[in-house]
Every structure is written in structure tokens, then in C-alpha cells.
């Protein structure tokens, strides 16, 4: 059956000669199948590769290594880690500290980042490209440099002896801002501005237009930005380590424990974070799908 291969060019196959032989040998067909699915297959493999360590984390959360603390290997299965998650000394305190900082930093970064995104998308002001540069840079700077320069600032302004909760907070808001702004900007940029005009045409004042039309439509982007921001904050180590003073956040706890022997409850926390975040993202994604279709111009 000679075939004019339409549409397969997009898959990366060579267009079969238009004067195709009426049958293809098994080898030819295998090669055809492979090249057609090559990219997809490789992509799937890479995706699997990305999840292998996560699987290990989950697995290790059920590990009992009480007999061999210093060896990071799977010994026995146990549910103890999940039933006594706060057993390791100081771990839960560190988790609580990380959550506190995370929530506060997320709140502040999301609010002022959203305001900035509105300014960049909806208003005119001089120095816009400069602003864009300053916003992009923190995303692309090495953390060690950002952390050390913040430390240098604190020390030189006399706060060298008072590093702690608030210096961490300041640092976290700083590097979360860029991500919040970029995320909200993307969402806001996709909004049809006719919608706001339509609202005013239909007797909504500026304030009513914002709260009933603009805000609900930009909210998914703001929520995504908040989630991203919390993850970045909770997970940060390098910058936090330099500016924490006596405080211990969860990543700092893990780092410290890595020398002495990591308690498996660390993996419990890791697994919980992963599951909660996934649940939130998938939930928001389902909602987003419906909104995204509606927003397509």
C-alpha cells in the first residue's frame, strides 16, 4: 500500500518517497517506528530520570536505619518515621521556622510583586527596560554572590551581630520578587483589555471593573506566583545560610545533619512537601485549564 505521508514530517520522519514500494520490510518499518517515536521516547526517559530521586526520597522515608546512622542506604521498612516525624532534635522547629518565613515572605513578595507587574503591563513610566533588567538579574545570579553581598550589606550597616529572622525574611522577599513579577506579568499580559472597557460600558465604575473583572482573571497567576514563591523560600539554603545568624531553617538543618547522619524523617518532610505542592498545582491546573480556554483571544 503506497502511502503519501502527510503530516508525518512534523514527527521528524523523512517523507517517504512518493513512489513508495508497495511493502516495507520489517526492518524498514521498525526504523520508521523508531524515528517517529524517538523524540517522544527520549523525552519520556528524561522525565523518568527527573523523578528517580523523588522515588528514592519517598522510599527512604520508610527506611529504618537506626542501626547504621551514618550509612545512607535502605535497611528495613518501617512506618516509624511517619508516626514519629518530630523525633529528631530540632527538626520540627526548623520546619516551623521555614514555614513562618515562607508564609511571610510569600505574602509580602506576592503583594508588591503583583503591584509591580500591573505597573509594568498597564502603565507607562520611564526606565521600563532598566526595570526589566533589574527584575531578571536575581533569577540569573549565583546565590553565593547574592547571599554574600547581602551579608556584606548587613555587616557594613552594623547589623552584623543581629542576623536572624528578619535578615532571612528580607533576603527571601528579594529573590522571590523576580519570579512573582514574571509570573503575574505573563498572566496579565494575556488578558484582553477590551474586557475592562466592556465592563465600564456596562455601568461598572473603575473600582467595580477591577474587582469583578480584572482581579478574578488575574488571580490564577497570582496564586501560581505565591506557590512558586513559597517553594523558593522554603527550599533556599545558600543565601539563608549566610544570613541566618543563630536561626535554623529546614534546609540548614538537613545540611547540618548531612555530616552527622541524616534522620529519615527528613525524607518524610520532603515527601509531604512534594505531595502537597503537587496537589495544589494539579488542583489549580484543572481550574486553569478551564480559564485558559476561555481566555484564548
Amino acid at each position: 500500500m503506497s502511502t503519501v505521508t502527510e503530516g508525518t514530517v512534523a514527527d521528524g520522519t523523512a517523507p517517504a518517497s512518493t513512489v513508495a514500494p508497495s511493502t516495507r520490510s520489517p526492518l524498514q518499518r521498525l526504523r520508521g517506528w523508531v524515528s517517529k517515536h524517538l523524540v517522544m521516547g527520549l523525552g519520556a526517559l528524561i522525565l523518568v530520570y527527573m523523578f528517580v530521586p523523588i522515588a528514592v526520597v519517598v522510599m527512604m522515608s520508610f527506611n529504618d536505619n537506626s542501626k547504621s546512622r551514618n550509612v545512607y542506604a535502605f535497611k528495613h521498612f518501617t512506618l516509624d518515621n511517619w508516626t514519629h516525624p518530630c523525633k529528631p532534635n530540632g527538626m520540627c522547629d526548623a520546619v516551623v521556622k521555614s514555614v513562618e518565613i515562607g508564609l511571610l515572605a510569600t505574602l509580602v513578595a506576592t503583594i508588591i510583586g503583583t503591584l509591580a507587574a500591573f505597573a509594568l503591563v498597564r502603565h507607562r513610566f520611564a526606565g521600563r527596560s532598566f526595570a526589566n533588567l533589574i527584575i531578571f538579574l536575581p533569577m540569573a545570579s549565583p546565590e553565593i554572590v547574592m547571599g554574600s553581598s547581602l551579608l556584606a550589606l548587613f555587616v557594613s550597616s552594623g547589623f552584623g551581630g543581629r542576623l536572624g529572622f528578619w535578615t532571612i525574611f528580607i533576603a527571601h522577599v528579594m529573590f522571590c520578587l523576580s519570579f512573582v513579577i514574571v509570573t503575574v506579568k505573563a498572566r496579565l499580559g494575556g488578558l484582553d483589555d477590551n474586557l475592562e472597557q466592556a465592563a465600564m460600558d456596562l455601568y461598572a465604575t473603575e473600582s467595580q471593573t477591577f474587582w469583578r473583572v480584572t482581579f478574578p482573571l488575574v488571580l490564577p497567576g497570582v496564586m501560581a506566583a505565591a506557590l512558586l514563591s513559597f517553594s523558593l523560600s522554603f527550599d533556599d539554603f545558600i543565601i539563608t545560610n549566610l544570613n541566618a545568624g543563630q536561626n535554623v531553617t529546614f534546609p540548614m538543618f538537613v545540611w547540618g545533619a548531612a555530616q552527622r547522619g541524616v534522620p529519615m524523617q527528613v525524607n518524610v518532610i520532603g515527601t509531604v512537601m512534594f505531595v502537597v505542592a503537587i496537589a495544589l498545582v494539579l488542583g489549580g491546573e484543572a481550574r486553569n485549564r478551564r480559564q485558559a480556554r476561555a481566555l484564548a483571544r
Binding site: V39, M50, V57, I144, V182, V281
Partner: protein
């Protein structure tokens, strides 16, 4: 424009002010502090205070003492970025062109590992690459690794860790760039007698270049300054400049050297980035 936009010529300034001030104060200004730290008189300390004495010898001293970890960092980061580019491109391409309606879900899966703690993930690699683990044993079985060979505490492990941790930062900008490409352009090239490989290099690759540049920047730069992978997966032989700076600040307390080294690192990175952006021909990043 709409009636709402003509009012408030300064509204934009007010809205961006908080973020601008925060970034200005805690991102831009600190670089200046860092610069002055690098010019400290090395005799000072946190307790006695520092004096800026334009002690430029700090720089020459830092280069002399630590050029080895510096070069090593750039090398590791470069390799990791390259591998990330290959893996990330394949993945982004697969999602953008073959993802269909699963695209968003697949993107979520790409970001998902990111939600587990960076450190905890890296510790997992310690397990996976352990001396008596599955990977090492398999490699020994096919003689890719000697009987005494190991992966942990070698550059391989560090680079593998860097690659793994920064892969999402490569995939996302690549995806953003690729998904904007109209597939009909590739089909047109094929209609004009280009082979698939040709079509890729002449059409797809050039159009994805902005994503490539953004992705490599977002990967290389943070990787160059990382020290977590080097500490957890490597040995003192794999010490990166990030380790050095960290130790200089906290263990040794030599702020002058630490500052100087940080400035040098930034300068080198900026120089490399400018060359890279210039040769790849794309100037807009965001």
C-alpha cells in the same frame, strides 16, 4: 486607550515603587557593599569592624590562592549546562511538539521535583550513586568502571548533581521558545526539499535561540556559584568556588578575601555572558 488609563500619569510609579525599592535596596546596593568589602583591610573582623582601604591586593591574593576552584567551577558549570541543554532540549521539544493536550500536565511534571527540598533530592543522589549501589555495580559489570571505581566523590557525581538540579531552569525557557514556533514553518521547509535534520538546523534551532540563551544563562550562572552538590556528592578535590567563598565568610571570617572572590566570580560570569549573548545574536532576555 481606555478612560481608566488616561488618569494617573504617576500611578505606574507608585505601583512599582515598593518592588523597585526592595530590589534596589537589597539587590543592587548589596553589590556595592560587596565591592567595598572586597576592598577591606584584611586585618579587620566582624567584631572589630572593617575599614575600606582600597586594598586591591585582595584581588590579586584571591586569584593567586583560589584560581583553581574558580576554573573548576566554570568548567563543571559549563559541562553541566551543556548536558542540560541536550537533555532539556529533547524534553522541551518532545513536550512542545508531541505533547498535545498533555502539555500542561507534562510541564507540571517537569516542575514537580522542584518542590522537594533541593538538599533532600541531592542526598538521594548520594544513595543512587553509592559505592555498592545499583548504578555503580552495573557500570562495574560492563567494565565502564574499574573494580575500585566509584562515582561519589568524583567530578562525575558533582556534574551529574548540577545537571539534575538545574534541568527545570533549562527546560522551561526552552519550552516557552519552542512552543511559539509555528510547526508549519518546518513543514514548509520539508515541502522545499529539506531533510528533517536540515529542517531542524535551519528552521527550528534558530527560532528557538532566545530560549536557548535564556535557559543556558539561568543554568550556568547559578551552577557556577553552587556548592551544595560539590559538598554532598564530591570530595575536597571537587571544591568549587562557592565552597571557598562560603568558608571564607563563615569559617575563616576573612571577609576581604571572600568579597574579592565574589566580585571576581561575578565579573567573570558577566564577561562570559556578554560574549555568549553577543555571539548568539539575541539581546532581549525577558
Amino acid at each position: 486607550m481606555a478612560a481608566g488609563q488616561e488618569k494617573g500619569r504617576f500611578t505606574g510609579y507608585w505601583l512599582i515603587a515598593p518592588a523597585a525599592i526592595w530590589l534596589g535596596l537589597f539587590f543592587v546596593v548589596p553589590f556595592y557593599s560587596l565591592l567595598s568589602t572586597s576592598l577591606y583591610d584584611p586585618e579587620g573582623s566582624v567584631l572589630t569592624g572593617y575599614k575600606v582601604t582600597f586594598h586591591v591586593q585582595n584581588f590579586s591574593q584571591a586569584i593567586q590562592d583560589y584560581w583553581h576552584p574558580m576554573v573548576r567551577s566554570l568548567w563543571y558549570a559549563g559541562l553541566a549546562t551543556l548536558i542540560c541543554l541536550v537533555l532539556g532540549y529533547v524534553l522541551a521539544y518532545a513536550i512542545a511538539f508531541k505533547g498535545g493536550r498533555w502539555r500542561n500536565l507534562l510541564l507540571v511534571l517537569v516542575i514537580a521535583p522542584f518542590f522537594t527540598s533541593f538538599l533532600v533530592r541531592t542526598l538521594s543522589w548520594k544513595l543512587i550513586l553509592a559505592d555498592d549501589g545499583f548504578i555503580v555495580n552495573s557500570l562495574q559489570a560492563v567494565h565502564l568502571l574499574g573494580q575500585d571505581g566509584r562515582l561519589l566523590a568524583t567530578p562525575v557525581a558533582v556534574i551529574a548533581g548540577l545537571t539534575y538540579n538545574f534541568l527545570p531552569f533549562m527546560v522551561l525557557p526552552l519550552y516557552a521558545s519552542l512552543e511559539k514556533i509555528d510547526i508549519r514553518l518546518v513543514e514548509a521547509s520539508s515541502d522545499l526539499y529539506a531533510s528533517p535534520a536540515r529542517g531542524f538546523f535551519k528552521v527550528t534551532w534558530p527560532l528557538s535561540l532566545p530560549g536557548v540563551v535564556a535557559g543556558t544563562l539561568l543554568t550556568f550562572i547559578p551552577a557556577a556559584g553552587d556548592y551544595i552538590n560539590a559538598t554532598l556528592l564530591g570530595s575536597p578535590n571537587q571544591r568549587m568556588v562557592g565552597n571557598v567563598i562560603q568558608d571564607l565568610f563563615t569559617t575563616t571570617g576573612d571577609y576581604a578575601a571572600a568579597g574579592a572572590l565574589s566580585v571576581i566570580l561575578m565579573a567573570v560570569i558577566v564577561a562570559m555572558v556578554m560574549v555568549w549573548v553577543r555571539t548568539s545574536g539575541t539581546e532581549d532576555l525577558v
